[in-house]
Symmetry: C2
Subunit: 571 residues, 2 copies
Amino acid sequence: MLEKYINAATRRKKADLVLKNATFVDVFTGVLRKGDVAVVGEKIVGTGEYQGETEIDCTGLTVIPGYIDGHVHIESSQLSPEEFASLIVPRGTTTIIADPHEITNVCGMAGCEYIAKAAKNVPLDIKIQLPSCVPATPFETSGAVLAGKDIEKHINDEYIFGLGEFMNYPGIVYCDPDVLKKAEAAHAAAKIIDGHAPAVYGYELNGYLCAGISTDHECVTKDEIEEKISKGMYVHIRHGSSTQNLGNAKHINQKNMRRFILCTDDRHAADLKEKGHLDDALRRLVADGVDPVNAVICATLNAAECYNLKWRGAIAPFYLADLVAVDNLKNFNAKYVIKSGKLVAENGKPLFDTSKRYLPENVLNTVHLKREMKAEDFVLTLKGKKAKAMTIEPGGVVTGCEIVEVESKNGDVEVKGTDLLKLFVVERHKLTGNIGKALFKGYGFKGGALGITIAHDSHNIILMGDDNASMAKAANRLKEIGGGMVIVDGEKGEIHSLTLDIAGLMSSRDAESLQADSRALIEKAHSMGVKRDYEAFMSLAFLSLAVIPKLKITDAGLFDVEKFAFTDINA
Amino acid sequence: MLEKYINAATRRKKADLVLKNATFVDVFTGVLRKGDVAVVGEKIVGTGEYQGETEIDCTGLTVIPGYIDGHVHIESSQLSPEEFASLIVPRGTTTIIADPHEITNVCGMAGCEYIAKAAKNVPLDIKIQLPSCVPATPFETSGAVLAGKDIEKHINDEYIFGLGEFMNYPGIVYCDPDVLKKAEAAHAAAKIIDGHAPAVYGYELNGYLCAGISTDHECVTKDEIEEKISKGMYVHIRHGSSTQNLGNAKHINQKNMRRFILCTDDRHAADLKEKGHLDDALRRLVADGVDPVNAVICATLNAAECYNLKWRGAIAPFYLADLVAVDNLKNFNAKYVIKSGKLVAENGKPLFDTSKRYLPENVLNTVHLKREMKAEDFVLTLKGKKAKAMTIEPGGVVTGCEIVEVESKNGDVEVKGTDLLKLFVVERHKLTGNIGKALFKGYGFKGGALGITIAHDSHNIILMGDDNASMAKAANRLKEIGGGMVIVDGEKGEIHSLTLDIAGLMSSRDAESLQADSRALIEKAHSMGVKRDYEAFMSLAFLSLAVIPKLKITDAGLFDVEKFAFTDINA
């Protein structure tokens, strides 16, 4: 193959593909250059004046290396990897570092394998990080456990790129042996470890870094960014749907700029479809005053260097021909996207078959209940008239705890006619029959039940409502459809649902029809009283995440995150 | 081990070693910081305020990461790897990328293995590049041949780091299959390939780079540097004894500076001893106006990134504790050198045992002659009265060709009483009995013979003189001592020699006594007429390098480099 590259590079033979008359970003010297970009097979072979078997006129366009997303959970889009690719590749993203943390919590290694194999259907390089924290906490029942010995076993799997974000920083800092075993396994395999260290500073940060952690996407302040970079971390500039830190780019200067990279972490399908992916991040960064070439370098060469993706992230001979031709470095509208030398998208539309789906049995039908749920399963018996109720600020994931007055009838708390709702987490993986029970104040919903099988990070069933029979119907419907979202209108006797057939987290359908149905379901929830401030279903999905303050509910019970212990609902 | 690091990083336990009260270079943000640098085992565990089992007061000193020499031939020092380390480690160099091209031309893979094993005696990381061009040309007889299949076999040897400088750029650009096989083998093994592409530009450079070549240490002009960096190469700033391009540093700017690294390539023992190694390069760069922190970054982090030496080249948690405490960033006088967490040099003196030598049989006694040489072997019969004679500019390696008038007697050219000398290359590896014969004009030597077993790149015997019997004596003495340098004073009947027992290239002795003897021998050569402009012996060593214009002599005959063909001595 080298011979073919060299013959074309030296112009003894035509290149396969030439982007003619381009302006292109030279990420090594930080300038724009003019010329043709010649491609043979999957490689760039040269810049200059070239002829190709195929030629694409790039007059007036700017060619940049394909974008690299440094950290993303595909599951957050609720789309299959194939459909996800069909949205982001036409935007110019050609490589992602994917951490299948969510699906692995449900399906174990089958979840990782599924993403890796689905990736083969699409022209997007999906580098799989082995999730380091499955389960995220020991306070709930997950579908799988990846202990130190499991990481030791799987870190060398051929398709595993590195070790995913190490969220368990106390486990590292306080030297939990099984946690350290995971880091040691990654180092023995010479694989990168991604970090996750919100507000970790000073000696604690030194300790965390001594596990050999390379990146952080949770930085937000100037001091934190400076300290983390100075201690060797690459810092992500994150453009998620709910969590963003694009402002980190304010702290880029010419001395530290090689240590910034871009990521999206969690990004919803609607945002991907309507606003975009890293193209949207670049657009915003440039609008915020970041030098466009620097922004491109962060999205390309820097990420390639961070993740040791040799021969990627630049427009130069022997580099992978992942290229995006955009209108300009302000709007970043992708006119052409080339992946590994092939034109794969034009004018924002994929040119590849987006209908293929890899759908193995072991990621389907993942809602397992010990038995059919009945109304009496949702009786909530309290000892007295005071109880703890969870609250949540709209748009956030931090919950509050409020002591509320309650009335009971026949040994069951009476929420109808109050601003309280019952909240349950029904275990759906291991047939334990566990049901965690709680109260929630202020969601606004009335007359039935809402349910969802996305419940961070173990993804049991979260149910909320004011009617026990509706709650049972919701749980049973979720089992029946294999996971998703459900709303039971107890008064009308209607059940509406949306199937997320892949692990109860993602749909195998196309984004467009999925979103239409999703919008209708959300509208139904609001019509039944859910305040418009909330995201109807997705606001529920974080009520079980027992590492974010203050009060959380898991299948094992009510959890006080500040005390880091289970707590009694009776106040 | 992670537990020990973390416990010390978080100050729950004392560190092994702490450099107290230091100013240290933060290569990630390009600034100087103040604090203690704590070390456990071979790793840095943190910066801040620390206590250690051992503490070194660095008040007033500046701590920088150990220097990385991006490209060096140890053989050029004429010292063993151990003695070489004893000179450069106290200067602050802790890692070198060594290309044992010379010894491999003599000894084959045994030469590479020797360097790798000798390295274990000293606190210096010697990363071995498998020489890509053995022999350098097909126009001479070398001690070994590493063909494509040999590179395929050995590139995966455990101690091989990458593929050494690819000097045969025509072989790449014109797609010699065996040459490309070497590059393909390196890529299959995911190993880096060093380049060597003097004045290669444009489409030819594109072709060369399409073999996947990462570096160039031959750059000299602004345009060449800019083009090579923009096409993805790392550019070395070279501080050799004869070849230097420190001026490359003028072209560093904040946008391209991550792509510059330092190297020495070929550096003589006297320079190492008297002037220094990369410390001397840094000193000169800063004196020339280069920002001191940028200069340090080139010598450390940049080289680590170029050569994918993860966790090296910075002062941060989990990085290898290779550290140099210098007086300041102007003089770079190394007060303390720490290698992998151990204090290995202080005040310029090694603290390690410098007397150990690994000396395997297969790198000794490498001068093999078909039979004892006799005076008549050095008869040079010419057809007429005109012949081609080589010339050389003092201080250079480019030779000239001059047509000279000659007189012969008894079928042997008569050089006595002229400014001509006879010049021979006697094959010393394969018992071929080959003797290449030439004339040289203007060296000044009279009354005997000079000989040396360093003759780039195949290192046959080069002999020069005006007396056939002295020539034979010189050759026989070189065989007897196993290689080195010899001078025969035909009139006095004296033979003086200096042994280079390791492959005829390097001495197993200490630098000091070797240099004293070497100086005496050189003085003797000058006393016999060698012009002071020449380096007496070392100026001979490049007369056989048939890739550098214009006229060269190998064991196979006189070679016209411009015509790239052998040529007749008769003009």
